[in-house]
């Protein structure tokens, strides 16, 4: 039976219907499509708004997070009143209010190897707006295994990338996927996430909008999708590049000799499990409450802050600034008597700093402030800004 539109829908979508090559057939395809948006953050915001506005008939949203104050700089789906609510709920409310003619389904959970195939299998296409390497590879692999198109974008500070993966063109030729482009993720810590590295607020708006456009092109069959190509945008210099991406015969999922037929442990693949464990175990720690007690009792304690000066300016505990990258220059100023507490934002960089100081300079009086200044703000001084 042919899909029909009500008078309200015809009027709502009229600017699509009068594009000659799009017309009511393109709109019909959108209405009959099911799209899963993974991550309703910076990329997910414009994605969800534009896909809902465009009339994609069924939209699924996966996210496990709640709306936080620090999201509002770029996640334009949400308002101040949404802070504290589950993102999927706030997002679903927002897009249902925008377009009552669509079906919205929410998954208030983290996408994992255990649930990904089950969630994704019912959708035609996945738009990946996640924020970490394990989930990027998980989404990619699940899409290849289930034969779904993966519309991809990612961002870092001023830089964005977009592509369309696992797209089969009219002649039946399958395009590359994420593993063809990047067979393996970088080691943990080299490329910080947005929460650690920051991002200019408009950038996810730009990349997420490009992603929404690619989703609409793939679904409607109009235009030439960004398959086999990687779009790069540097918002700082306004340089754009579109680079070719080829299939890799060594791709473990669908190269010439596939070796991977199911989802794997992506935390382990991305090297996250071992690193976290090592750094937790090997460094002596002090709880924020214990450190606060040392200070209160007047014990001789020196506090060293290994973050960057611009982070110090946001919030600090009055420690001596010694950024991790130039730590050796400060080693001579760090006392070897009494307790020395090293801290950063969340405790990871300070653990690395302690390892470096112990190994290269022979310190034995260093303590890592567990959870960094974020934990101190939570447990000891709620007046401190968290970032």
């Amino acid at each position: 039976m042919q899909t029909t539109f009500s008078k309200d829908e015809l009027e709502r979508y009229s600017r699509h219907l009068i594009i000659p090559e799009f017309n009511i057939e393109g709109q019909r395809r959108l209405k009959n499509s099911k799209v899963l948006v993974v991550g309703s953050g910076g990329l997910g915001s414009p994605l969800l708004l534009y896909l809902a506005a465009a009339g994609v008939g069924h939209i699924g949203i996966v996210d496990f997070d709640v709306v936080d104050d620090s999201n509002l700089q770029r996640q334009v789906l949400f308002t101040q009143a949404d802070v504290g609510k589950p993102k999927v709920e706030a997002a679903a409310d927002r897009i249902r209010a925008l377009n009552p003619h669509i079906v919205v389904q929410t998954y208030n959970t983290q996408l994992t190897s255990a649930n990904a195939l089950d969630i994704i299998k019912d959708y035609d296409l996945v738009a990946d707006g996640t924020d970490n390497f394990p989930t990027r590879y998980l989404v990619n692999d699940a899409c290849v295994l289930l034969d779904k198109v993966n519309v991809y974008a990612s961002i870092f500070r001023f830089e964005g990338q977009a592509s369309v993966f696992n797209y089969v063109d009219e002649s039946g030729e399958r395009g590359p996927n994420y593993r063809d482009l990047f067979p393996e993720p970088p080691p943990p810590g080299l490329v910080p996430s947005c929460s650690e590295g920051g991002v200019i607020g408009v950038l996810p708006g730009i990349l997420g909008s490009l992603q929404a456009n690619e989703v609409i092109k793939v679904l409607s069959g109009v235009g030439e999708p960004l398959s086999g190509r990687l779009f790069i945008f540097d918002a700082g210099s306004f340089q754009t590049r579109t680079l070719k991406v080829h299939r890799n015969p060594n791709n473990p999922l669908n190269g010439t000799r596939p070796t991977q037929t199911e989802l794997i442990d992506y935390e382990q693949f991305c090297g996250l499990k071992t690193t976290a464990r090592k750094e937790d175990l090997e460094v002596r720690q002090v709880q924020p409450g214990e450190y606060a007690a040392w200070v209160r009792e007047g014990q001789p304690v020196t506090l060293i802050d290994v973050r960057e000066p611009y982070e110090y300016e946001i919030v600090n505990l009055g420690g001596k600034l010694a950024p991790l990258a130039s730590l050796p220059e400060f080693a001579g100023d760090i006392p070897r008597d009494g307790k020395v507490v090293i801290h950063c934002r969340s405790g990871v960089r300070s653990a690395r700093a302690i390892k470096q100081l112990e190994a290269d300079f022979g310190f034995s009086n260093l303590y890592n402030l567990k959870g960094g200044i974020l934990a101190y703000a939570d447990e000891i001084d709620p007046s401190l800004a968290k970032y």
Binding site: G129, F156, L181, F182, C194, V199, Q239, L243, V245, A325
Partner: protein
């Protein structure tokens, strides 16, 4: 002279320099000149055997050169891009 564009995540190893000019005749020469000027970059671009790491791609113009050992010639005025994997979606 070719111009190599340094991507944002690696600029901390080039003192925030966004590009690098080189007279190298092949991509391999240009990359080796880059990592000898900015030593901190080396381990992030190349493995112990001098091969490109699997989370980095290098393009001349819009073409992926795949591997450094293929002696890709660099024409004067060429733009070389280092493209690293990034994952942010801004949570």
């Amino acid at each position: 002279m070719a111009t190599l564009i340094i991507p944002t995540p690696l600029r901390k190893f080039t003192a925030n320099q966004t590009s690098f000019e080189s007279n190298g005749g092949t991509v391999k020469d240009v990359v080796h000149e880059l990592v000898s000027t900015h030593e901190g970059l080396k381990t992030h671009l190349l493995d112990d055997g001098g091969n490109l790491r699997s989370f980095i791609r290098i393009y001349v113009g819009d073409e992926d050169i795949q591997a450094l050992d293929k002696e890709h010639a660099v024409q004067p005025g060429a733009t070389i891009s280092i493209i690293p994997a990034i994952a942010g979606g801004s949570h």
